[in-house]
C-alpha cells in the first residue's frame, strides 16, 4: 500500500502514466460500490424482512385493497355501454369505407375535369369527405360540416340534373366531358344515400355521449363513496366505512338496471337485422355488469368485519378463483421487498408514497427523502416525528392530490416515523 502511495516518485513514470492509475482506482471504487448495492447489476433478488417496522405496511389492508378496486369500478361504465360501442364501431367502419370511396370518386372527377379543381365547393366537398373518413369513430360522428355541404351544394346538383346550363356556371361547358357529368351524377346519388345514415349515426352518437355522461356521474358517486370509506378506514372508523361501502354497493346494484335513452335503442332497432343478429351473437350483453365490483366490495366488508386479518395459511385466492367463505380477494402489493438492507429506506418511501400519497415519482421520492432525513436524524420521539413528517408532506415538490389529506398523511407519517436511521 505504501509503495503504491509513493507511485508518483518512481523514476521513469511519466505524468500520463500516473493520472490514469489514479483515475482507475477512483473508477474501480465507484464501480465496486454501485455493483455491491444495486440488485439489478448483481442479478440477485434478496427478500428481507424488516424487523424494526410494523409489518402492516408490507401486507395490504382493506384500505390499500379498496384503492386497487377503484380501477375495477371505473371499468363498469364501459361494461354497461360496451354493446352499443361495438355496434357503433361497426356502423362507423361502414360509413368510413363509403366516405373513402366518395373521396376517390371526387379525385377521379377532378382528373376527368381538371377545370373543376378551381371549384371551391367541390374541393371543400372532397376535403370534408376525407376528414369524415378519418373522424368517424364509434363515439365521434362524421364531420357535421359534411351535411351542410351536401345540402347547399346546389351548383353541382343543378348541373348534374341539367336544370342549369353549363354556361351559367363559372367554368366553360365545353371543358366538361360526358364522363365527368356521369361521375357528378353518381357522386350526388351517393351523397344522397349517405345523408340519412350520417345524420342517424350523429344523432345516436349524441345520445350515446349523454348516456356516457350520466353513467360517469353515477360512477363518480360510487368512487366517491369508496374513497370516503378508505379515508374512514385509515382513521380506524370501520363501522362508518362499512356503511359507505354498502351505499356504494346499492348504487352499483342500481346501475345494473340502467337503460340508455329511447332514441339510442330505436337506432339499434332500426339497423339491418343481419347486423343486429351478428353483433348480438358476438357480444352477449352482460346482464349484471357491476357484479364483479359488487362482489369485491362485499368481500371487503367481510374483511373489515374481521379487523383486516389475513387467513392463517396466507394462501389467498386469485380474483377469478374459488373463494372460500369469509375470505376476500386482494392484490398482493409488496409482501416481499426485493432490495438489500441498505436501500430499504427508498423502498419504504416509494411504497408509502405509492399507497397513501400517489404518485411515487422519482422527484417526489427524492424531495421527500431530502426533507425527511433531517427530521429522522433530529428526533427520536415517534409522536414528534409523526407531527413533523405530516407538516413536511405539504412541502413535497411536485405536490400530490392527497398531500393535504389529513387521514392519508397521518397514516403515511406513522409508517415513516418508525424508520430507524
Amino acid at each position: 500500500m505504501h509503495e503504491e502511495l509513493e507511485l508518483p516518485n518512481r523514476p521513469g513514470l511519466s505524468l500520463d502514466q500516473k493520472v490514469p492509475r489514479r483515475a482507475f482506482v477512483s473508477m474501480a471504487l465507484l464501480a465496486a460500490s454501485v455493483t455491491a448495492v444495486h440488485p439489478k447489476i448483481t442479478g440477485k433478488t434478496i427478500n428481507t424482512e424488516i424487523p424494526d417496522l410494523d409489518d402492516n405496511y408490507l401486507i395490504p389492508g382493506p384500505a390499500d385493497t379498496l384503492t386497487v378496486y377503484l380501477d375495477e369500478i371505473e371499468k363498469v361504465r364501459y361494461d354497461i355501454l360496451r354493446q352499443y360501442y361495438v355496434i357503433f364501431g361497426f356502423m362507423a367502419a361502414v360509413l368510413r369505407r363509403k366516405y373513402e370511396a366518395l373521396r376517390k370518386d371526387i379525385d377521379e372527377l377532378m382528373r376527368l375535369a381538371p377545370e373543376l379543381k378551381v371549384d371551391k365547393n367541390l374541393c371543400r366537398l372532397r376535403d370534408v369527405a376525407a376528414a369524415s373518413k378519418n373522424n368517424i369513430t364509434a363515439s365521434n360522428t362524421p364531420d357535421p360540416r359534411l351535411v351542410a355541404v351536401i345540402k347547399t351544394n346546389f351548383e353541382l346538383a343543378l348541373i348534374a340534373s341539367n336544370q342549369v346550363s353549363r354556361e351559367e356556371v363559372k367554368w366553360s361547358a365545353s371543358e366538361i366531358s360526358p364522363e365527368a357529368i356521369e361521375k357528378i351524377k353518381d357522386i350526388l346519388c351517393r351523397i344522397d344515400n349517405l345523408n340519412t345514415p350520417t345524420a342517424s349515426i350523429q344523432d345516436a352518437s349524441t345520445e350515446l355521449s349523454k348516456s356516457d355522461g350520466e353513467l360517469t356521474t353515477e360512477i363518480k358517486s360510487v368512487v366517491s363513496a369508496v374513497r370516503e370509506a378508505i379515508n374512514l378506514l385509515l382513521r380506524n372508523e370501520s363501522n362508518a366505512a362499512i356503511l359507505k361501502l354498502e351505499s356504494a354497493i346499492s348504487q352499483l346494484n342500481a346501475l345494473d338496471k340502467y337503460k340508455p335513452s329511447k332514441k339510442l335503442l330505436d337506432y339499434i332497432e332500426g339497423l339491418p337485422e343481419d347486423i343486429r343478429i351478428e353483433y348480438a351473437k358476438k357480444n352477449k350483453s352482460v346482464t349484471t355488469p357491476t357484479s364483479t365490483a359488487q362482489e369485491l366490495l362485499q368481500r371487503a366488508i367481510a374483511w373489515i368485519k374481521v379487523d383486516g386479518r389475513f387467513p392463517n395459511d396466507q394462501s389467498l385466492p386469485k380474483i377469478s378463483g374459488a373463494i372460500e367463505k369469509g375470505q376476500v380477494e386482494f392484490i398482493r402489493i409488496s409482501a416481499n421487498l426485493t432490495a438489500p438492507v441498505g436501500i430499504r429506506f427508498f423502498t419504504i418511501l416509494a411504497s408509502v408514497l405509492g399507497t397513501y400519497l400517489p404518485h411515487p415519482t422519482p422527484w417526489r421520492i427524492g424531495s421527500c427523502s431530502f426533507l425527511l432525513c433531517p427530521i429522522l436524524f433530529a428526533y427520536s420521539d415517534e409522536n414528534i416525528r409523526i407531527q413533523k413528517i405530516k407538516d413536511m408532506f405539504y412541502s413535497i415538490i411536485p405536490s400530490g392530490e392527497f398531500d393535504t389529506d389529513d387521514a392519508r398523511t397521518t397514516a403515511a407519517a406513522k409508517i415513516l416515523a418508525k424508520i430507524i436511521i
Binding site: 502511495l5 509513493e6 508518483p8 516518485n9 489514479r22 482506482v25 477512483s26 471504487l29 465507484l30 460500490s33 454501485v34 448495492v37 444495486h38 440488485p39 439489478k40 436501500i343 427508498f346 422519482p362 421520492i365 427524492g366 427523502s369 431530502f370 426533507l371 433531517p374 427530521i375 433530529a378 428526533y379 414528534i384 413533523k388 407538516d391 413536511m392 405539504y394 412541502s395
Partner: protein, 226 residues
C-alpha cells in the same frame, strides 16, 4: 445610613447589585463565547492552529475549550426552546435531561468525527493529498482538522433541530434545507483547511472530499430511479 439619607432603601441596593452581577456574568460569558466559539466558526480555518504542515501536538486544551463551549451553547439553545415550549414545572427535569442529551450528542460527534477521519484518511492518500513529496497526511492531522471544522457548527445544528419543532410551512421547509447548506459550508471549509495544512494543489483536495459524495450521489440516483 448615608444611602438612606440619599433616599435609597437597602432593598433597592440589593436588586441593583444582583442585576449588576447578572449583567457582568452574562457579559463575561458572552465575551468568552464570542472569543472561543465565534472566530472558530466564521474564520474557518482559523490560524492558529491551521498553519502549513501543522501537526496538532498541543491542541488538546484548545479543542477541549472549544468542545465545552459548543456543548454549553447547544445546551442553552436546546434548553431554552424546551423551556418555552414545555410546562414550566417540568423545567428542572428538562434541563437535566437536556444536558445529558447534549453531552451524549457531543461525545457521539467526537466519535463520529473520528470515524469520518478514518474514512477520509485512505481516500486522501488515494487522491494524492500530501504534505510533501514523501510525507502523507497523518491520521492525527485529519482528525483534528475534521474536529476543528465540525465542532463549531454544533450550536447551529442544535438551533436548527430545536427550531424545527414549532415551525410550519415555509419556515419548516427552510429549516429542513438548512442542514444541507451547513454541510456545504463545512465541506468547503474542510477543503480550505486541508489546503492550508498540506499546501498542495486544489485538485487532489477537492477530489478527496467530493469523490465520496459523488459516489453516494450516484448510488442515491440509481436507487431512486430503479
Amino acid at each position: 445610613m448615608a444611602n438612606e439619607e440619599n433616599g435609597e432603601r437597602p432593598g433597592d441596593l440589593a436588586v441593583e447589585s444582583r442585576l449588576k452581577k447578572i449583567f457582568d456574568s452574562s457579559r463575561n460569558f458572552l465575551a468568552s463565547a464570542l472569543s472561543e466559539w465565534l472566530p472558530s466558526l466564521i474564520d474557518q480555518p482559523t490560524n492558529p492552529p491551521f498553519v502549513k504542515k501543522a501537526i496538532f501536538n498541543d491542541e488538546i486544551a484548545r479543542i477541549a475549550r472549544l468542545i465545552v463551549m459548543a456543548v454549553l451553547l447547544s445546551v442553552i439553545i436546546i434548553g431554552s426552546f424546551k423551556l418555552v415550549y414545555n410546562n414550566i414545572s417540568e423545567s428542572a427535569a428538562i434541563i437535566s435531561q437536556t444536558i445529558l442529551d447534549v453531552i451524549k450528542l457531543s461525545l457521539c460527534v467526537i466519535i463520529a468525527v473520528f470515524l469520518v477521519s478514518l474514512v477520509y484518511f485512505p481516500i486522501a492518500a488515494l487522491s494524492g493529498v500530501k504534505i510533501s513529496q514523501n510525507k502523507k497526511l497523518s491520521l492525527r492531522q485529519v482528525f483534528f482538522t475534521t474536529l476543528y471544522i465540525i465542532v463549531p457548527w454544533l450550536p447551529i445544528f442544535a438551533f436548527i433541530i430545536t427550531a424545527i419543532l414549532p415551525s410550519k410551512g415555509i419556515i419548516l421547509l427552510l429549516l429542513l434545507m438548512a442542514p444541507y447548506l451547513c454541510l456545504i459550508y463545512i465541506m468547503l471549509n474542510f477543503m480550505r483547511a486541508i489546503k492550508v495544512i498540506t499546501d498542495c494543489n486544489w485538485t487532489p483536495v477537492i477530489l478527496s472530499v467530493l469523490a465520496p459524495f459523488f459516489m453516494l450521489g450516484v448510488i442515491f440516483l440509481i436507487l431512486l430511479l430503479s
